[in-house]
Symmetry: C2
Subunit: 369 residues, 2 copies
């Protein structure tokens, strides 16, 4: 498909995937006068609550994908693990952003790490693992502890196994299902950061303020902005984001997760992974920035000018996992706290049910009780 004209107000954005990211993308699109069409296999997907049109079908249902594509002016994604064939079917019928090649890179940890390394951007030492014996040679180079990760379909710590001193590498190999993998050195980092870059169809880019993240059991627990980093590190993180987005000819918002590592020669940023979509560590932009990441993504994929990413308040974002969302009435009453819930019926342990953004710093003016 040739690069099309901007999607005008009243046009329709197709969103593949119906989770909370799709829900917040759809709500943001509505603020710009756009309609939405959400495609998801789950009949009670959170994004359906706020979508103009819905398709319940599998990502391998080519007929449904084609009909979905023809019903909208542009298609985007709330997740990166879109089957390649689905991307092809969509792209044959409608403009698709980000481009499916960018998704393909992000779907494969080996392709991703290789690309980033080729750009001259540091990554943790890694080795490709196609069979069990590759783990041993990899450990010889990378040392222990290390972590074995499936090349595909891993997220939030799934598809990963640590290999520490004394661990049997073949046990890790069985744990991840004996599938193509990547062995990465453990990184002794000072902190985890992420950067979000937005890139429009003409190639203009901008970045949001760098976020500092704290994970618990491989799941993001809390994001703090501004991050406790110096100006040089801040600038370096932003530049890494921009260079990766440009290398992928990316359109939309792209998150890059980073480790800040102290080396004798000074602090170094290593790329952990990229996410070609809106990202949990930038949910704070909903309440502390002029343009949320959700609206920014919609603007970019629709061919609109990028929105102002300025931040007006310091902020801490906390995920509400599992039963912690049961405290919604307490959270809803906290001052300077913005509560976001995803409308999910079942609060399974560790499931992302919502988040809160707590704003710090004085406001320009207070309402009165």
């Amino acid at each position: 498909m040739p690069d099309p004209r901007p999607v005008p107000p009243g046009g329709a954005v197709g969103i593949l995937g119906g989770g909370q990211l799709g829900r917040m993308l759809a709500a943001a699109a509505s603020e710009l006068g756009l309609k939405t069409h959400v495609f998801c296999p789950d009949h009670d997907a959170p994004a359906f609550d706020v979508a103009t049109a819905r398709t319940v079908a599998g990502y391998d249902d080519e007929k449904a994908l084609a009909a979905f594509a023809r019903s909208v002016d542009v298609v985007t994604f709330e997740f990166e693990n879109v089957p390649a064939r689905a991307g092809e079917v969509l792209a044959a019928n409608v403009p698709v952003y980000p481009n499916p090649q960018a998704l393909a890179v992000a779907q494969d940890r080996l392709a991703e790490k290789t690309l980033i390394q080729e750009l001259g951007i540091p990554v943790p030492p890694f080795a490709a693992v196609n069979e069990a014996r590759d783990i041993y040679s990899g450990l010889g180079r990378a040392g222990r502890p290390a972590v074995l990760k499936t090349r595909r379909l891993g997220y939030d710590g799934k598809g990963q196994a640590a290999i520490r001193t004394g661990d049997d590498p073949s046990h890790a190999w069985r744990l991840i299902g004996e599938q193509p993998a990547i062995l990465e050195s453990f990184v002794d980092f000072r902190c985890e950061l992420s950067v979000l870059v937005a890139r429009d169809r003409q190639g203009a880019t901008l970045t949001y303020d760098v976020a500092q993240n704290r994970h618990e059991r491989h799941v993001l627990a809390e994001t703090t902005v501004p991050a406790a980093i110096d100006a040089a590190t801040d600038e370096a993180a932003r530049q890494i984001g921009v260079r990766i987005a440009e290398a992928l000819d990316y359109v939309g918002v792209l998150a890059v997760e980073l480790f800040l590592v102290d080396r004798p020669e000074g602090p170094v940023l290593l790329v952990n992974e990229i996410a070609p979509r809106v990202h949990n560590s930038f949910h704070w932009t909903q309440d502390a920035a002029l343009t949320s990441q959700f609206e920014q993504h919609v603007r970019a994929v629709c061919g609109w000018p990028l929105g102002d990413p300025c931040r007006h308040s310091d902020v801490v974002m906390t995920n509400l996992l599992g039963e912690s969302a049961a405290r919604w009435q307490v959270l809803a009453g906290e001052p300077r706290t913005r509560l976001h819930l995803y409308g999910k019926r079942e609060a399974r342990p560790g499931r992302k049910m919502g988040h809160v953004n707590r704003l710090a710093g004085p406001s320009a003016s207070a309402g009165k009780g």
Copy 2:
């Protein structure tokens, strides 16, 4: 219906009316994990784009109203001119906020002015007009210029006729359709203000910062916050809002439009009219306050705690009327500007197509291009 328990996340809010106010209410409800059901006679109502469920039916369709009411946990309104019978049918099936009696008062300019006067709150001199000769006696007391307004169903200058020196009062009477009316003195005001009060089911109230409004041809053109008023006027405006909300046993957000008049004894606030709903002059709360008026209304009618109304930035809201929304690409690219479009197909002259909130003042931190 007895005062019910709060509507929990995952519950459904019914919204009567499908215009831009309903659209923004529905989007705000989705952020709290709530579903929405919009009832509107127009099949292409803007609010349908973002509603979980839709009913296309007339406000006199009692069967459809009852089914709608039974499908949700609470019903609210995006407009005040709900037929009394519709309110009764809804209230027989589900909790309804604000209470239909508050709507009834706001539907009738005479009842509204009378109530406010009985509270000891100043209003412009007025007289009831049931037949043409009442206009002459009214003019005798109020003087000219004056304005004749239908008691019911007037908004944005519709159903009004001015009577200036030399004008034939019977012409004004014919212009408004010879129906029950109210004659009001022209008010020579310094400025037009509005205040928004939120009141929850337990009777707790809070107010947003007072807005200063500029109308063009009876339609709101621009709102500036903060208003150019002193602290005493600010406090007086807020108190007027709270007293009216309490008198109506109101639940939700309620807007009060005020004239600031300079008198020899000092500045005086006169109530122009009330709107028992979210109001155009508080659209700035979407981008410059912690809790938007839309979320605040949803919280109140659902029995949630009220949200923090603090304002973090100075702001000017400008309505996009008719063809002025055709500049959306330019507006979308302005720094520190938040664009909101309603997804309406046809840009009829004077039709509200969207609005922009322009934020002033330095931000805590700037994103980088």
